[in-house]
């Protein structure tokens, strides 16, 4: 049963990733990305990472994908209904990518991984929370500062010029 679910999820993930790579419309690529994210969340569940699966849905689908769709809508003329997205250098890129895929999957299959035979499925939320507050506290804090910086930067960048000019005298006064 779990194997069947795994196969179905992998097919969903890879086929929609191919849509992202190949479709000639940005908006269809974004929809493909939605299904890739959902497939990957399913794969996380199968690898006993329930908290990560929910985070994947929350951050990628509810956050990043919404941002991407907004960017697609705002960065095109409304008259350009097809939102075309041409591709360049298709054949050489495809050859490189397929060769790389062959290499990587060959390495993955032939390597003798030091796999534990009996892997148990257990909830990970509590363990993750404890680790984030103890062993990984420093990276956690650094990442939160990074997020704050990104937030301020993005807000400043997307401000219209007129608003920025209005902001300037205040900033000089502050200095």
């Amino acid at each position: 049963m779990a194997d069947l679910v795994f196969v179905l999820l992998s097919i969903l993930t890879v086929v929609s990733a191919l849509i992202v790579a190949g479709n000639s419309s940005v908006i269809y690529s974004a929809v493909g990305l939605l299904f890739t994210f959902m497939g990957v969340a399913g794969l996380y569940v199968l690898a006993s990472a329930d908290f990560l699966a929910a985070t994947q849905m929350l951050v990628y689908v509810g956050g990043i994908l919404v941002l991407i769709l907004f960017a697609v809508f705002l960065s095109n003329r409304i008259s350009d209904a097809k939102l075309s997205n041409p591709t360049h250098m298709r054949v050489p890129s495809a050859i490189v990518c397929i060769a790389l895929f062959g290499l990587m999957s060959n390495a993955a299959v032939t390597t003798e991984w030091a796999v534990k035979t009996n892997v148990e499925y257990a909830p990970t939320t509590a363990v993750l929370g404890r680790l984030l507050m103890t062993k990984y506290l420093l990276p956690f804090e650094v990442v939160s500062v990074l997020l704050l910086a990104a937030l301020i930067g993005a807000a400043l960048l997307s401000r219209p010029e007129s608003a920025k000019a209005a902001l300037k005298p205040d900033m000089e006064e502050g200095q």
Partner: protein, 100 residues
């Protein structure tokens, strides 16, 4: 369902992302390729963490990757919107005013 199957799926995802980045000129589409590659890396982290006997470091790393992907997407998209306002297009080739 075993470790190598997870790795093959993630390799396929990685190559799709790479292909997207190599062939597209649209900035937003490039960002989608980057997200695919980050997801492929995350599958690897989670799969190794699961099959090498509950090493939680893998999942912690995946959490950080997701957070950084969110920050990166926010900044990149606001840069593209600015680019669209100044150059009238999000094709990354149009941002060459420093060269000319």
């Amino acid at each position: 369902m075993s470790l190598d199957k997870f790795l093959v799926v993630s390799a396929a995802l990685f190559c799709c992302g790479l292909y997207t980045i190599m062939t597209r000129r649209n900035g937003v589409a490039l960002l989608m390729g980057v997200e695919l590659i980050l997801n492929a890396a995350n599958i690897n982290f989670v799969a190794f963490s699961h099959y090498l006997g509950k090493v939680m470091g893998g999942q912690i790393f995946a959490v950080f990757v997701i957070v950084i992907a969110a920050a990166e997407a926010a900044v990149a998209l606001s840069i593209f919107l600015r680019l669209f306002a100044t150059a009238g297009s999000v094709e990354v080739d149009t941002a060459d005013s420093l060269k000319n």
